[in-house]
């Protein structure tokens, strides 16, 4: 079972990202379950969404404490919380940022993508917020191959018809192309 933790801020679409990854995995014959962290919805506040993916149906509902993958939708979250808390050794971290985070140090792989710029380029902005969820899924696919990028694009275009669907799938594809791995400097393997 693969456990993914999405760290986002209200309005960025982290919950939808978690749902889409489950839908896409299901298309590939895998089972999944996605859920948000709960509370009153607050724009801009930090929130988590979770997804579990497996070859067999999943029926475990406890929160995710030791994720295999952490996806960070906003660079500001790096100041708010320890994003690698509980990360399994050798796990992957994907961050939406325009600069390489200098002081991150953990046992695993770090990938970065400037999803915010991609969304601004494509005018994927709702109420002043770049909605980076579909872009970050492209990055997730590149970094981990949990789901194939083509399946993701298909899933996105099924969820949103017409131009908005096209824009989102473009964001996903561009992020897939532009995601790269950063070699961690002072890496200490535990």
């Amino acid at each position: 079972m693969i456990e993914i933790k999405f760290l986002g801020r209200g309005g960025q679409g982290a919950v939808t990202a978690a749902n889409l990854i489950v839908q896409a995995s299901f298309k590939e014959g895998k089972f999944g379950l996605a859920y948000p962290s709960f509370g009153a919805e607050r724009r801009g506040a930090i929130l988590n969404a979770y997804a579990r993916i497996d070859q067999i149906p999943i029926n475990v509902h406890q929160q995710i404490y030791e994720p295999d993958v952490v996806v960070v939708l906003d660079k500001k979250i790096l100041q708010m919380t320890n994003i690698v808390e509980g990360l399994k050794p050798g796990g992957s971290v994907i961050i939406n940022t325009n600069r390489i985070p200098e002081d991150l140090n953990f046992d695993g792989k770090l990938f970065i993508v400037d999803a915010t710029r991609i969304c601004l380029d494509l005018n994927l902005v709702i109420s002043g917020w770049p909605v980076v969820n579909t872009a970050i899924l492209g990055a997730l696919s590149k970094a981990t191959n949990i789901v194939n990028i083509n399946t993701l694009v298909k899933t996105i275009e099924e969820n949103w018809k017409g131009e908005i669907g096209k824009k989102n799938s473009q964001a996903c594809l561009r992020a897939y192309e532009e995601t790269y791995e950063v070699v961690l400097k002072n890496l200490v393997r535990g």
Partner: protein, 83 residues
């Protein structure tokens, strides 16, 4: 006997440091400010400090960056800048 009572005491930031929710922040230009305190009156989260001489400043720990103050300022002395 010790009893648990669910009291809510008046305090700042019942849901934490709400300043972290911001994407842009208001910045006061004190040269332009005419000390009318309209921003102070309109701030929905009471995150504007009002001093004795009616000059104002922003409490960035709790300001959510909604922009109401910048919108209401009659002399455009408050600007929203990316945080």
């Amino acid at each position: 006997m010790r009893v648990l009572i669910p009291k809510s005491k008046p305090s700042k930031g019942a849901v934490g440091k709400t300043g972290l929710w911001r994407t842009s922040k208001p910045v006061v230009n004190h040269d332009k400010c005419i000390k009318c305190v309209i921003c102070w009156a309109f701030c929905p989260e009471t995150t504007i400090f009002r001093f004795q001489d009616n000059s104002v400043d922003i409490d960035y720990e709790y300001c959510k960056g909604c922009g109401v103050c910048a919108n209401e300022c009659p002399v455009n002395a408050i600007e929203m800048v990316e945080d």
